[in-house]
Structures are given as structure tokens and as C-alpha cells.
Amino acid sequence: MPLNIRTYHELTDADRSGLVDQIVAQRRRVADRLASVRRVVAVLSGKGGVGKSFVTAGLARARARSGQAAGVLDADFNGPTAPQLLHLPVTSCTLHDGVIEPLVSAEGVRCFSMTFLVEDGRPLAFRGPDTEAFVWRGALEAAALREFLADVAWGALDELFVDLPPGVQRFQELTELLPAPPAVLAVTIPTPESRDAVRRALRGAIDRKATPLGIVENMVGGPFAGSAGDELAAEFGIPVLARVPFHPGDHVWDAIIQGAL
């Protein structure tokens, strides 16, 4: 005779673990922390080596120079570079009223990065079982992103730039954590290979209701041939915000900030 087993939703007593409630509380903490951030801008490309971090730092510094408040969340946990690009020394993070103070560059850009937390010259490694790490590592990195958003005292910002690693996974995690989809800035170099990778990432971002601000074509005028910026702009109906040459001066970033962005 089959057992009569009621299902989860038929059990009406509270689930003391309250796992769903715990997740909801985590999301609420993120939303509360970012309530004073006017706009979150995810800088993505889907392609490695196109200069996302370089562009992120250039724009954040220009935003700060213009007198506005900017922050950079370095979401590239396995290859963090934002502090170096913002000329930030690595010093201890201080805690204040249950949150962690971001480090602030001489120009006033607030930044938080795995660089501040992980030993020099060592990879980001997590404690845990030696085998099957692929099962849980992604969840741990997503949790780290949540804590970078929720536990850093970002304060009132006009713009929080999120410097994403190559690929689309971190962007997906970001959109799930934020109360609303972020604005997206796509960075490409001129080549067709970059265009194809960025196309996938942009399509994924739009599928997740993100607002594409435009394209920044980086490393223009050098050895890379192609017109990825124009082609992507035409395909998605968004502007090419800038064509950034090798070794751009501050005026290039300032022009982007004072212009369309």
C-alpha cells in the first residue's frame, strides 16, 4: 500500500530554517545598501582582453573629476585590476557600524576589489572539499558579489561601475542580486571576433531587461582591424559612445562623461 506523504506546500507549520526568508533578507540588504546609488552601470564585453577594466577606471576617474560621486566594484574576482588602474594602494579595510569602508582614490573614486582581500601573487581559493569544487565555486563567487554589493559602505553615488570579468555568468548573478536590472556599457575592440563575443553578451543583457547605454570601442587606431563598434551599434540601435585610442589622455574620458554617458 503506498504511503500517504504530504508535499512541502501542504505542510503549513513554519520552516524554521527559513531558507527562502534568509535569501530574501540577503536581497533586501543589497537593495538597502544601493538605495543611495543613482545608477549601477555594468561594464561588460563577453570577451577577455578588450580593456573593460581600463575603460571602467577611465570613466570612473572622469566622473569623479567632474565633481560627481563614482564607485567601482571590481567583480573580476580571479583577475582583479581596478585598484592598480585607479592608482589605489592596497591597505587594510576598515569596518564601521557593521559595514566595510571602500578604499578611496586620490580623485575620490570609491573602490572595492578582491585585490584588497587576497594575498599578493596567490589565486582566489576557497576552503572546502578538494573534490567537485566546480559544484560550489560558482555559488561562492556569487555570494562574494552579493557581499561586495551589500556590505561595502558605498554611500551616495551618482554611478557605481561594476567591472565584470569576461563571459556572462557574473552579469547574470549581478542582475539577480540587484533590485532592478543595471544599465550596461559594452566594451569592444574593432575586430569581428570581439564583435561576435560582445553581441552574445549584449543580447544576454537585453534578455535580462538591462538598459544598454552604448558601445565603447577600445584600442582604435592600432593593430586591430574592423568596425565592431559601428556594427554592434547598428544592430542594437544604440550609440557608439566613444572610440578610445591606445594611450588615451584624460580628455578622452572626460569627453565621454560630459557627452552621452
Partner: protein, 148 residues
């Protein structure tokens, strides 16, 4: 996560949680009608997966600590990553036994400040005057502090 005592058709109640320190977890649930107890046992990978989500089986009993998951789980953290000294000024909190201090000193610096704060809050909330290794063990189990 819920457990049903099929024989009694009653939802079982969370009873206690144990962390043996080998990466596994045990959570006991009791049937309020017949008193039968079952234990949920997770292997290290399953325990890690739950911990990765930043949730605790049996519920949370402490407010979230800043960077709790990162500080608890990163194995390659810088010793000087966090300056915890400024977080808590001097006060009349619980004292630490010599053995407890020695044990705390073995905790990596990356996470030590947070662990210390958790134990202090635990002792304070319960009116415990001195933190000993036994208090640390109890707190660790009650609060679900795997590896701390």
C-alpha cells in the same frame, strides 16, 4: 526544507545542529507527536553548497556580519586585509580564558576579528562572563559556524 513524520502525518520540528568539524553537518528534527528523531546528514560537498548560499539550516540567530561568507571561506586571504580594531572600542564585555585566547590565536588573521566579535556577542547575549573553549564549542554548534 521540511521533514514529515509520515506515520503521524506531522511536520517534524528542528531540534539541533551539529558541525563535527570535518566539513559535514548534522541537523536533527523531532516529531512533536511521537517524539521520533531523524537526522539530516550532509557530506562536505553538500554542506559547502548550502554554506555558499550564505544560509543556515535551522535558521539564523545572529545578524549578518560584514563579508561573512568571504571571510569565512576564502583560503588565501591577506593577513592584514581587515582592520577590525576600530570596529569595537574598549568596553566591559566578557573576558577570555587563557585557553580560549590560545584557540582564537590559531584562527587565521583574515577571519579572526569577525570570529572574535561573534563569540563576544554570543557570550554577551547570554550573560556569559568568561569565554572558554567549551563556550566556543557550544556557540559554534548553535550558530552554525562551520570551521570557526
Amino acid at each position: 526544507m521540511k521533514f514529515l513524520c509520515v506515520e503521524c502525518d506531522r511536520q517534524m520540528q528542528f531540534e539541533e545542529r551539529r558541525l563535527p568539524g570535518d566539513g559535514t553537518l548534522a541537523a536533527a528534527f523531532r516529531c512533536p507527536t511521537c517524539g521520533r528523531v531523524v537526522a539530516l546528514l550532509t557530506n562536505p560537498m553538500e554542506t559547502q553548497l548550502v554554506a555558499s548560499l550564505g544560509v543556515k539550516i535551522g535558521g539564523t540567530t545572529l545578524p549578518p556580519q560584514p563579508m561573512e561568507m568571504v571571510r569565512g571561506m576564502v583560503a588565501t586571504g591577506r593577513d592584514d586585509a581587515f582592520d577590525d580594531a576600530r570596529e569595537r572600542g574598549p568596553g566591559s564585555g566578557p573576558s577570555w580564558s587563557t585557553e580560549a585566547q590560545e584557540r582564537l590565536a590559531r584562527v587565521p588573521n583574515f577571519v579572526r576579528g569577525m570570529v572574535k566579535r561573534i563569540y563576544l556577542d554570543y557570550a554577551k547575549d547570554r550573560g556569559i562572563a568568561e569565554i572558554t573553549p567549551a563556550v566556543m564549542d557550544t556557540a559554534r554548534t548553535e550558530l552554525g559556524l562551520e570551521g570557526m
